[in-house]
């Protein structure tokens, strides 16, 4: 049975319509929701929580229709983007709040508080108020408040967005560990694809209020089902070339760039389309490479383990990701080749064309 299932839910706002949304989250799964800002990610969480009611469709919690369920009855916890800690309460009171509100005995509260503070290493800050805590400490307290309630699922709305890069990475690993240890259902929302792809078992890409694609992170990355998903997933983003399929349907042409598309099914011969290639799938051309493209390098961005090369190809700016470090712009100058096994082709509607 699914922990959470959203079936054809639509919610209309004055300037935005969410849905129809169809999603299901398995028990014990870490489900990621990824999308650009204002895509409707938080609205999906509010639908699950019951903070907003769908105009159409339904939300099933633990297999039961949640229409008549109050927010608290759903037994779903949430870590809010701004953490939403209660500023007038200590860390201890914040974490224990869901239990005190549900009338749990003080003995049980103490036992569960001990367990949670051990897991999150927050024993030393329980007496502090949120204003006296660092960002990471507040983060842990907010997580503790979600964990202590023994919920069906925990929703995390960009929970680590406010932390610095190093702490974000640490918290990411810790969240994954917590989820695995407790075998709990997590729904993790972020606009940062790296964050979601790194920890989610499955991911839903939400664009303009709709679920554009659901799948394993690898599938979504390697086989984006539409141009819009391809643009959202990947950092640096996929290089896109707008052009036309040849009349015989064997090539894609964009100015001087011509690539073979013989292995691709249902090519709309003679029609317009888009070719996509990820920055890491463009390589320096070897001596014997046949289909090579001349580039001029504009700048390089050394980022430690890899380097981003900003170049111009066929009058269009592209990004190339190269392992290791380059000595200078000329180090990657000259010609490049596309890895033809990893081309992404989209028709004029932006839908992905299948590959054999």
């Amino acid at each position: 049975m699914n922990a959470i299932s959203i079936q054809g839910a639509i919610k209309k706002y004055p300037k935005f319509t969410l849905g129809p949304i169809d999603l299901s989250v398995e028990r014990g799964e870490l489900f990621g929701i990824l999308g650009p800002p204002s895509a409707g990610k938080t609205s999906i969480l509010k639908l699950i929580l019951g903070l907003v009611k769908p105009d159409r469709g339904k939300v099933l919690i633990g297999g039961a229709n949640s229409d008549e369920m109050e927010v608290a009855e759903r037994q779903i916890s949430m870590v809010f983007q701004n953490l939403a800690l209660f500023p007038h309460m200590s860390g201890r009171e914040n974490i224990a709040f869901p239990l005190t509100e549900r009338g749990v005995s003080s003995k049980e509260i103490a036992a569960r508080l001990d367990a949670v503070s051990d897991v999150l290493h927050v024993g030393h800050i329980l007496h502090k108020n949120p204003a006296q805590m660092s960002g990471g400490e507040r983060q842990r307290i907010a997580l503790g408040r979600a964990l202590i309630a023994d919920s069906r699922a925990i929703l995390l709305d960009e929970p680590i967005a406010a932390l610095d890069a190093r702490l974000r990475e640490e918290m990411r690993v810790e969240l994954k560990r917590l989820q695995r240890t407790n075998n709990q259902t997590f729904v993790y929302v972020s606009h940062d694809e790296e964050e979601v792809m790194a920890i989610a078992d499955r991911v839903a890409v939400v664009i303009d209020g709709r679920v554009a694609q659901v799948g394993a992170p690898d599938d979504v990355y390697n086989k984006p089902n539409s141009l819009s998903v391809a643009q959202v997933i990947g950092s640096p983003p996929m290089n896109l070339f707008q052009g036309r399929f040849s009349a015989d349907g064997r090539h894609f042409e964009c100015g001087d760039i011509v690539v073979a598309v013989a292995g691709i099914r249902d090519v709309p011969a003679g029609e317009q389309g888009t070719l996509g290639i990820r920055p890491e799938d463009i390589h320096r051309a070897g001596d014997h490479a046949t289909r090579r493209f001349r580039i001029s390098v504009n700048s390089i961005e050394p980022l430690g383990g890899y380097t981003i090369v900003n170049a111009t190809l066929g009058g269009q700016l592209i990004k190339i990701r190269v392992s290791g470090q380059l000595d200078g712009p000329d180090d990657h100058g000259g010609s490049v080749v596309f890895d033809e096994r990893r081309l992404h082709l989209f028709d004029s509607e932006g839908d992905r064309l299948g590959m054999e």
Partner: protein, 285 residues
């Protein structure tokens, strides 16, 4: 960057001038309260400090008469002080409670979106413009010269102030905090009582103090809606004249000093909330 000397001088000159404007009447009141009758006016030459300090003025306003004075009043300060305290506190409670609840409903649930402007309209009328109908209504319901009649009008007149002030405080509370409480098991009422109200406590204290001061210093409403049973301090002060001596400046200053005590004590009691209340929303969350 260093501030140029001229700008600094001008800035401090303005500060000193502003302080003088505020402090001068206070100093005048304090020194006058301890001056005997001959020193009230320029007859014997005005001085800042009393040549012969006396507590006679306080004795007179407290008991309605004083040793060595031929004039007397038919009442002391006890009645007016009690009337002012009772009506100001009740009026403040009424305005703050109704203002808090209604502004929360508007700020959080957006219900009755025209209510804020309607409430504001109450403040747009000059009080005198509506006082005749109010007097008729108060007479009709038997509220003239009663503690509850005066408290009721105080509550109504200061409600817009309480409403708008509290609304700004509620607007500052992130809605996610309340959502977090609801997710944790709270009902709407419990969210308000357990979470929102404690967070806006500084604002509530500030609002209560301001409304109390407005009610405490009211003259017009008390003048028109009371007769003799519920005479408040400002009305009592207006009776401090004598056919022989005219204005009893010393007594008025003494009464002014006594009348300043309750707001000051109230302010001191809520001091720790007051600073936060006055700066609520001014700092980045």
């Amino acid at each position: 960057m260093r501030t140029p000397l001229r700008a600094l001088v001008i800035r401090y000159a303005f500060v000193i001038l502003a302080c003088a404007v505020v402090i001068y009447p206070l100093l005048w009141m304090i020194t006058m309260a301890f001056k005997p009758f001959p020193e009230w006016t320029t007859g014997t030459g005005m001085t800042w400090f009393p040549k012969q300090p006396t507590l006679q003025n306080f004795e007179f306003v407290i008991f309605g008469h004083a040793q060595g004075l031929v004039v007397s009043l038919d009442r002391g300060i006890v009645g007016p002080l009690a009337a002012s305290l009772i009506t100001s506190i009740c009026g403040t409670a009424l305005a703050v409670v109704t203002g808090t609840l209604s502004s929360y409903a508007v700020a959080r649930f957006g219900i009755m979106s025209l209510l804020p402007l309607s409430v504001l309209q109450l403040r747009l009328f000059p009080p005198l413009a509506v006082m005749i109908p109010v007097m008729v209504m108060w007479a009709f319901i038997g509220a003239v010269d009663t503690w509850w009649g005066l408290s009721l009008i105080y509550g109504i007149v200061t409600l817009p102030f309480a409403f708008w002030l509290m609304k700004t405080f509620f607007d500052e509370v992130p809605v996610e905090i309340e959502d977090a409480a609801r997710v944790s098991g709270c009902s709407y009422w419990r969210v308000f009582y357990r979470i929102t109200l404690p967070i806006v406590k500084p604002g509530l204290a500030t609002c209560a103090l301001f409304v109390f001061i407005l009610n405490w210093s009211d003259y017009l409403l008390a003048l028109l809606l009371t007769q003799k049973n519920w005479v408040t301090l400002p009305i009592y002060m207006s009776t401090l004249t004598s056919p022989m001596g005219g204005q009893m400046y010393g007594m008025k200053a003494a009464l002014g000093l006594i009348a300043a005590i309750p707001p000051v004590v109230f302010g001191l009691l809520i001091q720790k909330h007051l600073v936060r209340g006055l700066t609520f929303g001014a700092l980045k969350q």
